[in-house]
């Protein structure tokens, strides 16, 4: 019997391949990463089968579970004009710093009476304040004094016109649990009062149920593309 020779092997594995692979994955995630935008309040949106992307340069009206309304404008230039105008017409007496805070901040969810105090806060305290903020006062009336959301929207549209921009599109980001008639409807009727009948809800995508008219349509479109 020849003696069996067991080759001495080292237990360490070659890590190069694994390292290559993880780096590849890492690159993919870094490239595709789009960080969650800073949100004033947490909102769980309902689902729909829509595949449309959210229009660019939109103005977002957020309604949380309790019906608090937050107003968000994306365009920096428009925001600058907006706060100047609001400051002037509402006699808020904002300082330059407070105006800059508005322009660089994410959204507003306070009544005009508290706006100066809110904008004077540093950003991290603003987001803490948002958790207990009362939201922009909104109702179903056409009064600019009680329906402050209407004032914001109207001023924004007016300033967009002055800046020679396209009329802004509106999207509503509303929590699925928000009562419709009591809360969501306030925002929708405010938009309606300003003759805005077309807007979008932000939703999560859900699959199209098979066997329906939309399913047939989507399949026909896919077959046509081929």
């Amino acid at each position: 019997m020849p003696k069996l020779k067991m080759p001495k092997k080292s237990t360490s594995i070659d890590m190069t391949a694994l390292c290559d692979f993880t780096l590849l994955l890492l690159t993919f995630f870094i490239m595709s990463a789009k960080f969650k935008p800073q949100e004033a309040v947490e909102v769980v949106t309902p689902s729909s089968t829509s595949t449309k992307e959210i229009p660019m340069g939109f103005i977002q009206i957020t309604v949380d579970k309790l019906g608090r309304v937050f107003y968000t404008v994306d365009n920096i230039k428009l925001k600058r004009n907006l706060i100047e105008e609001v400051n002037k017409t509402k006699n808020l007496g904002l300082t330059e710093t407070e105006k800059n805070n508005f322009v660089n901040g994410p959204s507003v969810g306070v009544p005009f009476t508290k706006l100066k105090a809110y904008l004077a806060l540093p950003p991290n305290e603003q987001s803490r304040y948002d958790k207990e903020a009362s939201g922009v006062p909104t109702d179903t009336t056409k009064s600019f004094t009680t329906n402050e959301l209407m004032y914001w929207i109207n001023t924004t549209r007016y300033q967009a016109q002055i800046l020679d921009m396209d009329q802004p599109r509106f999207v509503i980001k509303v929590d699925g649990q928000t009562p419709y008639v009591e809360e969501t409807n306030k925002v929708i009727s405010t938009l309606g009062k300003l003759d805005i009948y077309r807007f979008s809800y932000i939703t999560n995508q859900k699959p199209i149920p098979p066997g329906t008219a939309l399913w047939d349509k989507a399949n026909a479109a896919a077959a046509g593309a081929k």
Partner: protein, 180 residues
């Protein structure tokens, strides 16, 4: 043999231990996976009916082509057809035997009526959506989405009337006493 190996080992490039690097990479991957929003939010477009005075849009709707859906509490739906001689029924958002089947059935019947000439070709199925005070926004969005799913072009969201609220109340009272 062993001698050659050890010689080669000394001459070749020194090996770096890559384990910590892999660890770090995996950690970073985990971080990016959690911070990335995978499901992109989408926008569901909606057109609200124009609210103008002296405009009675309902009068244009042919009775046979209309269906009214009331949104109640706990994701319950109540519906009735036509505008007179109303019989209220209740349904759900279920995929089978829910509102979708009701709409598909109604659509078929409207098409049949168009074929035999009772309805004109222009009298398309019209859905009136009336959210009651107890329903949530998710209910409304789901029902509008149901219109897209079933390819219903004409629908409108209007305020609920006192009569409609009574229908729901009557139905609930009736179903409590009705034998199952």
């Amino acid at each position: 043999m062993a001698e050659i190996e050890s010689k080669g080992g000394k001459k070749g490039t020194p090996r770096v231990d890559l384990t910590p690097m892999v660890d770090l990479n995996l950690l970073l991957i985990t971080f990016f996976m959690f911070t990335t929003t995978l499901s992109k939010p989408t926008a569901m477009e909606i057109n609200m009916p124009f609210k103008k005075e002296n405009m009675d849009s309902q009068s244009k709707v042919k009775e046979d082509a209309a269906i009214t859906i009331l949104l109640g509490a706990d994701r319950k739906l109540y519906y009735y057809e036509g505008l007179e001689n109303i019989e209220v029924k209740q349904t759900t958002f279920d995929n089978d035997g829910g509102i979708r089947d009701v709409l598909i059935d109604k659509k078929k019947r409207v098409r049949a009526l168009q074929a035999n000439g009772t309805l004109n070709a222009g009298d398309e199925l019209t859905v009136l959506i009336k959210p009651d005070i107890t329903c949530t926004t998710a209910d409304v969005v789901d029902l509008i989405d149901e219109m897209t799913i079933n390819d219903i072009k004409i629908y409108s969201i209007t305020d609920i009337t006192k009569e409609d609220q009574d229908f729901i109340a009557d139905y609930e009272r009736g179903s409590a006493s009705r034998p199952r």
